[in-house]
């Protein structure tokens, strides 16, 4: 039975005669069969948010329910893809309708025709439960797509075979406990607004290595953790997010461009295939799924895009992979919520945002975590969520930033004054924090030696001291400081310029391994230690600051990756010698 439109106001459509529709059902609206979702029901009248431009719709047009909530298709063929907010493949849309997105385009999310090589790993007679792995498909050279029993399904396999199948072809049969025969296919569907089930959640204990020195050393994030990157425009949020998407040591990356620039998504799309993953040597695109709902695309689909992205991420997590979801930007998502809320004439909360803003944000981030997946083999997977926040005017007191800060455990605060000085990544070391330091310490101590965390603490305290000393310098000038304090300022400058600054646009410096990070910080802190001893022996501070090694340390970042170990050793030896020479001269100037 079809309903009829009675009201159209932007993306909001009201229709009557929809008594048989359920809350949150996906509906098809008007002659172009635009995709919409039911937001509220009153009697047989439904308010519908339409994911496409509604111009040309009017009262009387038909509305038809599909009887199912907003869902994504999960099957081999998603990796390397670029989707819009409701999982329509954008590259297929270009082929079909050209460079601009017209309305009512219908394209399946994954290719239903393409044949995949399926290797069965389960056998006839196996008793399986939801999440158990039936077989595998090599989707890309780095992603082995595991075909799982859909959640909520269990029984005995009565038939299964390896071979070449498309995603809807039957490769086996499952007999449920109540005797029903269910055909097995690769394609699953899952409603985006409901988290996929898992057995158990664990506190995250392993760090996610991002290759970014300020993140890995000072404010690490755990695999399965949550982080936010807030910052005003021009402070480099997107570059930080891109760096995470490029260099994180995870198996799958889902990058959600939510209400952001079209060219940024194009950049990812053109650049990632050419970049090599340092761990596998394969192209980074071979582990990436892009969701692009740029700012000029319909606002309602923007609201759905973060759910689409995180549901795909959960699906890969269920295979036992480490997955990272990177959402740029959650503020645009919140604005989409606000816009729909306004059209529904809901009572606004702070700054016009709906009262449920904080709980929606919390629900999104809570879908992250380190979990034991469903299925009987106790495999572990993790889902790390990183969201950018774009506070108006850079003012963190606004509702989206505040609600986000209450939830996430890592906070990389971007600072426009650092960005003006071209200090990138412009993460402010005084305002940022990571609450994973304690839970990650055992891993760091075991794998990188205890010095890693000790150095971190020392570097942080030098930076803290610098901030308070700078206040004094403002009043009385540098010369009034004791030699020790002058050294602190100098070492802080080295930490800032020679360590924390990292150029994302160069091949060598873009990614820095843990070992390299540890060694570089070691050199700087050794300079601090040796100079302090020398000062105690009466050495001149000016001379200590002017040793030739200072320049070599300054260029240590650009030593190629296969030479750094030797080069850093040579630097230390040279530095020790130079400082010793000055110390030996004692107090004479």
């Amino acid at each position: 039975m079809a309903g009829k439109i009675v009201k159209v106001s932007g993306p909001l459509v009201v229709a009557t005669g929809l008594a048989d529709a359920n809350m949150s059902d996906v509906v098809r609206v008007g002659p172009q069969r635009l995709i919409g979702e039911i937001l509220t029901m009153k009697g047989d009248t439904a308010s519908i948010q339409v994911y496409e431009e509604t111009s040309g719709l009017g009262p009387g047009a038909e509305v038809e329910t599909t009887g199912a909530p907003m869902s994504v298709e999960l099957a081999p063929g998603m990796i390397e893809g670029i989707y819009d907010g409701i999982q329509r493949p954008l590259e297929k849309i270009v082929e079909k309708v050209g460079a601009n997105i017209t309305r009512g385009v219908e394209v399946p999310a994954v290719d239903h025709e393409k044949k995949w090589e399926f290797t069965a790993t389960a056998k006839v007679g196996d008793k399986v439960v939801g999440g158990d792995i039936l077989g595998t498909v090599p989707e890309t050279p780095v992603v082995l797509h595991k075909i799982m029993v859909p959640p909520n399904l269990s029984g005995t396999i009565t038939d299964i075979k390896s071979g070449s199948f498309n995603v809807t072809e039957r490769f086996g049969t499952l007999k449920t406990d109540d005797g029903k025969e269910v055909p097995l296919q690769m394609l699953q569907r899952w409603p985006v607004r409901i988290g996929r089930p898992y057995q158990k959640k664990y506190p995250p204990v392993k760090p996610l290595s991002s290759g970014q020195r300020i993140i890995d050393t000072l404010f690490p994030i755990a695999k399965g953790g949550t982080a936010a990157v807030p910052g005003p425009f021009g402070s480099g949020k997107t570059v930080v997010q891109h760096q995470l998407a490029k260099w994180s040591d995870v198996d799958i990356v889902i990058y959600i461009g939510c209400g952001e620039r079209g060219n940024e998504m194009t950049d990812v799309l053109r650049e990632f295939p050419e970049l090599k993953d340092p761990r596998t040597g394969e192209s980074l695109m071979k582990r990436t799924v892009l969701i692009a709902n740029t700012s000029d695309m319909p606002v309602a689909a923007r609201e759905a895009s973060v759910y689409t992205g995180i549901t795909i991420a959960e699906y890969f997590r269920d295979m036992g992979y480490d997955v990272a979801v990177i959402a740029d930007s959650t503020s645009r998502w919140a604005e989409a919520l606000r816009e729909m809320s306004g059209r529904l004439e809901e009572m606004p909360g702070e700054e016009g945002y709906p009262a449920y803003l904080a709980s929606r944000l919390a629900q999104f981030y809570e879908r992250a975590g380190s979990v034991e997946c469903i299925g009987s083999d106790e495999r572990r997977g993790s889902l790390t969520a990183v969201g950018a926040v774009s506070p108006p005017g850079g003012d963190l007191s606004e509702p989206v930033s505040q609600a986000t800060m209450r939830i996430v455990k890592v906070f990389w605060a971007l600072d426009s004054s650092l960005a003006y000085r071209r200090h990138f990544p412009a993460i402010n070391w005084l305002n940022s924090y990571s609450l994973y330091l304690d839970s990650l310490k055992p891993w760091f101590d075991e794998n990188l030696g205890e010095s890693f965390m000790r150095n971190r603490t020392q570097a942080m305290s030098i930076l803290q001291n610098e901030a308070s000393l700078n206040e004094i310098v403002q009043l009385v000038g540098k010369d009034a400081l004791s030699p020790g304090d002058q050294l602190t300022l100098e070492v802080a400058r080295m930490i800032r310029e020679d360590y924390l600054q990292q150029n994302a646009f160069t091949d060598i410096d873009g990614y820095s391994s843990y070992d390299r990070q540890g060694k570089l910080l070691d050199i700087i802190l050794e300079y601090d230690r040796r100079c302090r001893e020398a000062i105690d022996r009466g050495a001149s501070v000016t001379k200590l600051f002017a040793i030739p090694s200072r320049e070599t340390i300054g260029r240590a970042k650009s030593v190629p990756a296969d030479e750094y170990a030797d080069a850093y050793d040579r630097m230390r030896i040279a530095m020790a010698k130079e400082i010793e020479e000055i110390a030996a001269q004692g107090g004479e100037d």
Binding site: G56, P59, A99, T266, D296, G477
Partner: protein, 460 residues
């Protein structure tokens, strides 16, 4: 089928309510015929049962509720586009106002356009030489970029925009098919006339399409003006393969018109009374700039906005900055010092510069020297501040060199005037000359081999 109604029930400018309508659709174009036969236009904002809410594009003055005839045209607001638009002047609704003949459209286009598929975009990376050092050297513009000028009332943004329009060229592309689309949004006659006479003086008027909504034209018309301009630009760029530079001034007037309509609709206001969808609305304008795969043309967009109270955190510049690919900020302090153009290089930014500079585009040392100039200027300015508090004696000799660098940088690099057209080599060489004020060891951001090669020979 065109339906005509005489059932206007209410007009609260710019909104009009029409009752007992049938078959009306959202976003449809509406014509209102007054008793004297004149025509006003509007569009459907909402249809609820048999009631349509219409937003007028023009003034409501003179409309009589009983007499006015309302026609729903069955399609959204369209612009008839044609290659003959070059050299012509239109009003904010796309009607010619230069006394010339009507345009014979090659096709009609919905002025709202359609979102560009990110998978069909081509990443902008072709360097545009504007001849302005602070842009070419430090905040490089590329074809297909959207780079706004953030200005303040009384600052010479018009001179800078005209200079860019006049001098912009792509190196090694002599026979380039170049056009300018200019949208005047709520600016004064004098400001608009400045641009027109500037285009005329340089002979580029024949390659220019002007859309003009002046300060005394109806405010609601301003909502259509930039869309008209962008529709024309899209046609020229992607059908006629031209490289189109779109200049829109002033976006602040546009946003205020949007606020006016939103307030009339009694929507929940966001910051400073602007509607919550201001971001999305601005994005649907700015995002129309760009390049498409397989098409030679491009749209480069330079919107100009005046920041109320020079406040960058005001919603209009703030949201613009979140959408555009950087910003050129003018500084009142530099303007007062007589620096022309008064570009404040620290907060200015071009996000696409990294893809547009370097070997084969500008010169191999460009990226390095750009970073070094920024860092040195920033240190120099800090040192100057310290010097003003503590006196010169508190600074080390190197600190003093930095302070000198900052002064020279403003005096020679930034202050080039509106008539000097510098090539990129001149800009880069000037950068080296300024950097040579500093000791070589300070240039940590530049590769040693470039220092070797480009350090001015006459300096030690």
């Amino acid at each position: 089928m065109i339906r005509e109604y005489k059932t206007v029930e209410e007009i609260v400018s710019p909104l009009m309510m029409v009752r007992m309508v049938e078959g009306v659709t959202y976003d449809e174009l509406v014509e209102i015929e007054l008793h004297d036969g004149s025509i006003r236009r509007g569009k459907v904002l909402e249809v609820n049962g048999d009631t349509a809410v219409v937003q007028l594009f023009e003034s409501a003055a003179g409309i009589n509720l009983a007499d006015a005839k309302v026609r729903f045209l069955g399609h959204p607001l369209q612009l008839g586009v044609s290659g003959d638009m070059l050299g012509r002047v239109f009003n904010g609704m796309g009607q010619p106002i230069d006394g010339g003949p009507e345009i014979l459209p090659e096709e009609y286009r919905d002025i709202n356009g359609l979102p560009m598929n990110p998978a069909a975009r081509d990443y902008p990376n072709e360097f545009i030489q504007t001849g302005v050092s602070t842009i070419d050297g430090l905040n490089t513009l590329v074809r297909g970029q959207k780079l706004p000028i953030f200005s303040g009332s009384g600052l010479p943004h018009a001179n800078l925009a005209a200079q860019i329009a006049r001098q912009a060229k792509v190196l090694g592309d002599a026979a380039s098919n170049f056009a300018v689309v200019f949208a005047a949004i709520g600016i004064t006659f004098e400001e608009s006339e400045f641009f027109v006479s500037e285009f005329r003086r340089t002979g580029s008027i024949d390659r220019t399409v002007l859309f003009s909504n002046l300060a005394n034209d109806p405010a609601v018309e301003r909502i259509s003006t930039p869309r008209m301009a962008l529709t024309a630009a899209e046609y020229l760029a992607f059908e006629k393969d031209m490289h189109v530079l779109v200049i829109m001034t002033d976006i602040t007037n546009y946003a205020e018109a949007l606020r006016e309509v939103s307030a009339a609709k009694k929507e929940v206001p966001g910051r400073r009374g602007f509607p919550g969808y201001l971001y999305t609305d601005l994005a649907t304008l700015y995002e129309r700039a760009g390049r498409q795969l397989g098409k030679p043309g491009s749209i480069t967009l330079i919107p100009i906005l005046t920041m109320p109270e020079d406040d960058k955190t005001h919603p209009i510049p703030d949201l613009t900055g979140y959408i555009t690919e950087g910003q050129i900020i003018l500084s009142r302090a530099l303007y007062r010092q007589g620096i022309e153009p008064p570009v404040d290089v620290m907060p200015s930014l071009s996000r696409l510069k990294d893809k547009g500079v370097g070997e084969g585009k500008t010169r191999e040392d460009h990226a390095n020297t750009m970073n070094q100039l920024f860092a040195a200027y920033s240190t120099g300015k800090e040192n100057k501040e310290l010097m003003s508090i503590l006196g010169e004696a508190a600074l080390t000799p190197v600190d003093l060199q930095y302070a000198k660098f900052a002064d020279e940088f403003e005096r020679r690099y930034v202050n080039q005037g509106y008539d000097q057209n510098r090539t990129i080599e001149e800009t880069l060489d000037l950068g080296w000359e300024l950097l040579s004020i500093l000791p070589k060891a300070e240039l940590k951001r530049i590769k040693p081999e470039y220092i070797e090669k480009y350090w001015p020979k006459d300096k030690a």
